[in-house]
Every structure is written in structure tokens, then in C-alpha cells.
Amino acid sequence: MSVNQLSFFALFFLSVILYYCVPRKCQWMALLGISLLFYHLMGVDNFIYVLVTAGTLTWTTGKMYQIDCCLEEELKNAPAKLTRSEKKEKKAQAKSRKKRWLLCMIFINLGILLVLKYGDFFVHNANRILGVFGIDGMNKLGLVVPLGLSYYTLQAIGYALDVYKGKSVPEKNPCKVLLFVTFFPQMTQGPIGRFGELAPQLYVGRTFSYKNLSYGCQRILWGMMKKTVIADNLRPLATGIFHQYKTVDGFTLFMACIYTTFQIYADFSGYSDIVCGIGEIYGIRMEENFTQPFFSKSLSEYWRRWHISLSSWFRDYIFYPASISKSAVSFGKFGGRFLPPRISKMFPAVFALSLVWISTGLWHDASWRYILWGAANGAIIISAIILKPQFDAAKAKLHIREDGGLWQVFCMIRTFLIVSLLKVFPGAGSTIGSLRIFKKIFFDFHPALDYTLWFMDMESYRLIYAAIGLVLFLIVSILQTKGKVRDFLAAKPVVVRWAVYLFLLSLIMFMGAFDSTAIGGFEYAQF
């Protein structure tokens, strides 16, 4: 079962009735029951993994909090006033004990993720190396990866790190922690929630609100339109061209990259809209995952606007600790011996960025093409930072005004084209395939004047539907930069509002493709 299926919405409707009918103090229990039921119906029977995650999370965060409380008590009740160095020593000891619990939690949960998701990738590559020496390879593990493993593992680790930092007070009730880990709308594709923002909303009781219901339904309709009218109509075209990459030219492949960019955005942001809408009906505000990424003027800005919950997770829990770590600082000092001070000072951040981008690639998929995709993103972002003075000098020579409208549009198009070109990696079915596609795009690029060739042998109505959806999407995106579209709509007379809802509903019913061939019904569920 996927969140874009009618059966899901039928069950969801019943769950909302249940949620608002039970006593307020029991609402979180209803939400947990509903989440576990959906988790089961989504085809995931590996309850053991979420139980291990919730169990280890409750246990280790409790221990870390206990250490903090003991330290506070000890400092308060010390018989004689402690010197600064004594206090420092006690704090260091407590921190070291907390670190052990934190590492224990990370070791267990990251271990599960690594074995289940990356075990076969490791075996495959190890076998290739062993084969070179004529040694028999190992058998593949063939383990089933539970849907959403990459999402809820990061969410759980983020929570443990927040408790370690003293930013969050841990939840003692393991069932409540289980709800935080398994809250069903975000289970398979995020957004990766932060404990401090999401958990209190899950546990508090609330009364039914018509505004939440209507805003939630609007959001779901909008997400469904993006998913069915844009993403599912474009999907056969994008995947079809990539599958035939051996027989098509570079220009057509580049067009496939553009289609894939729109398709993946509509698919993933459509899912996020549906999830946020579902949360809103329960009165829960989920983290926004997108803020008009196609209006970004650089690749780094694009990544601050795309899949925000993942990029902010990597920023807060990998980039920052890695860039101030002793190894990164030593790396910077090493660089300072033979490089100009400006460059060597960047070394710790460059080291951390490289780590973030390799991890981001690996997080998406256990394959070399995704590692290359991450490395390519990282290389472009790092180069832009290092070469900034040269770019600024070139812009000054060419009398380019940074705030000029034309320049800003140029930067947006440039970013869009870079993002689209990098879609070769996810689009191609293999690493070799993606390298061959790049070769064709760069060395066999023959722009076709006959526009019908841009769309291969796809049914023309699908393209028209997708184009209508995209124009609507663009208009709403532009309006969103100027203010809150939904508040604007809410202020309109009831006839206008319902006309908009019925228009969206008819777009979905008559132009929607309802393609559920992707894993979990959505592209990002496979990660």
C-alpha cells in the first residue's frame, strides 16, 4: 500500500475518525496503532528492526540523560566549592560516559543500516577484488531492506545526538519513542523529523479543527496533482529514453535529463505535500522539504532548498562535527604548509563537505553511480567556493551586476541545467551506462529541429497533461515566493475555493496517470 492509493485514503479517513473520537490523552496511542497498522500494510513485516531502533533509542538516551542529571546533582551538592579545573574534569568524565552510550546507539542502528542496505554492495565489490586473485567469492546476503530504513535510522540518530548535546530531554516511554520512529506519513520517505519539533506534537492531545482539515485536504490534492499529472505522466518518457540510451543521440538523452528533473521533483515534492497534508489533518506540522529549488542561483543554494530535512541533517550531524574535528583541523594545518592561507583555511570545511557528499551519494543507493553522483555534486560546490575570488574578478571585468535580473535568471537556468545533467546518474541503470550517457551528451550532441523527436514515441496526450501540470506548478511556485498561497485562497469566497478544489480533483481524475510501478509508489521510497 502506498500513500497515493485509494485504499490508503479510505483507511486514513477511518483513522482520522478514530483519532478524534478517542480521549485526548489516548490520541498518541491511537496514532501509534494506526502507524503500526500502516507499516504492516505497506508490506513491511520487519517489525523487529523498528523495535530495535526504538528500544536502543529509549535505553541509550535515558542513560545519557541520567549522566547529565547526576553531574548536575554532584556539582550542586559538592561539600566544598569545586575549583574550575575540578569542575572541568567532572564534566569531561560525564561527557566521555555519554559518548560511550551515544556510540553504542549509533553502532547498533548504523550497523543494521550498513548490513541490510550495503552488505551486498560490499560483498559484490569484495568478490570482484577476490576474483582478480583467483579466489572464490562470498555468497550475497540477499537481505530484505525494510521500507524507510534510511529515513528512520537518521531520524533516530539525530534524536540521540540532540540528547547527547543536551538539546533535547529524552522520552522515557518506549511506546512514545516507537511512535516517533514509526509515525506513518513520514515513515517511507521522510521528512526526517527532529525530536524537539515533531515529538511534542505527536504526544499532545488535540480537538478537531475544520481549518486543519480543509488546509490538509488542499495540500493532499495539490500533492496528488503533482504526483499523478506531472510525475506519472513524465515517468515513462524519462525512463524510456534512458533505457534506449544505446540507440538515441546525446540531445535526446539530455532532454531525458530535463524530464527526469521535473519528474523526480513532482514525485518527491508531491509526496511531501501529501504527507504534510495528512499531518495537518491530525494537527501536526511536519517539516517542509522543499522551498522552490528551481529558483536557486547556485548548486549549494539548490541543496539548501531541496530535500531540506536530509541536507540539514547532514549539515548538523556530519558537516559541523566533521569540519571542527581534530582530523579536519590537522588536515587544514597540513594544507597550510604548501598552500595560500585562504585555501588552507578552507581545508577543514572542504574535508567535511567531501565526507557529506560521499555519504549523501551512499545514502541514496549502495552503488558506484550514486557515489559518483555525490562526488560530482561535492566537486562542483567545492570548486565554486575555492574559485569564488576568480569568479568575482571575472564578473567585475565583465561589468556584471550581481543583483541584475538578467544575471539572476542566467544563474537559475545554469543551476537547473547542472542539476539536470547530474540526473544521468540516477536515470541510467548502471555506472557504466551513466558514463556512456555522459559521453553521448558531450560528444554526440545533435540538437533535433524536429520537435517530435524530443518526445520519442510517447503518447502526445501525456505530454500535454504533464505540460499543463507544470505550467500550473510554475505559477503556484512564483506566487509562493510572494506570499502564502493557501491563506490567499482561504480569503476567497466559498464558490471560488470549491471551484479550485474541483479543478484540481478533475485534473487528477482525468489527466492523472496513476503509475505505481516505482517502489512504494514513489521514487524516493527506494532509498
Partner: protein
């Protein structure tokens, strides 16, 4: 003295900004993650402190005052 030194660091980092007027440097994305890491490196070297992972929170870097308070706290802990 500490304020002047910090202002020098900030002006070198982003000369176009008027730091004294800003109080949401991180929340509003005025300083990005790369700026923040560079700033932490400079603070560590100039004030002989060690900004740790625990200290990297928006409220510690949102304004000049917040940064000064963090540096003072870290110096006291040293």
C-alpha cells in the same frame, strides 16, 4: 577588545554585512554553513578557545552579542 577582534574577523569573513544590526544571522541564512565553519576556526585561533559540536547552535551565532557570550563562556571554562 574582544568585541573589536571579533568584529575584525566578521568583517574579513563577509565585508558586505553590517553585523551589529543583525540578530538572526543563522536563522535567516545570512551566514551559511561554510561561513560558520570558517568563523569557528577563526574564533578558536584568535581567542584560544575550542568551540565544540555542542556549541554549534543557531542561538550561539545569531548575533555579535551571542558570539561574545559564547566566547566568554568558553574562556571561563578553559
Amino acid at each position: 577588545m574582544m568585541r573589536e577582534e571579533l568584529m575584525e574577523i566578521l568583517e574579513r569573513l563577509r565585508p558586505e554585512l553590517e553585523f551589529e544590526k543583525e540578530d538572526k544571522l543563522i536563522d535567516d541564512g545570512i551566514l551559511d554553513s561554510f561561513d560558520l565553519v570558517s568563523l569557528i576556526g577563526e574564533i578558536n585561533d584568535s581567542f584560544d578557545v575550542e568551540v565544540s559540536f555542542d556549541d554549534i547552535e543557531p542561538e550561539n551565532f545569531n548575533s555579535v552579542e551571542a558570539m561574545l557570550a559564547l566566547i566568554t563562556k568558553l574562556q571561563e571554562e578553559e
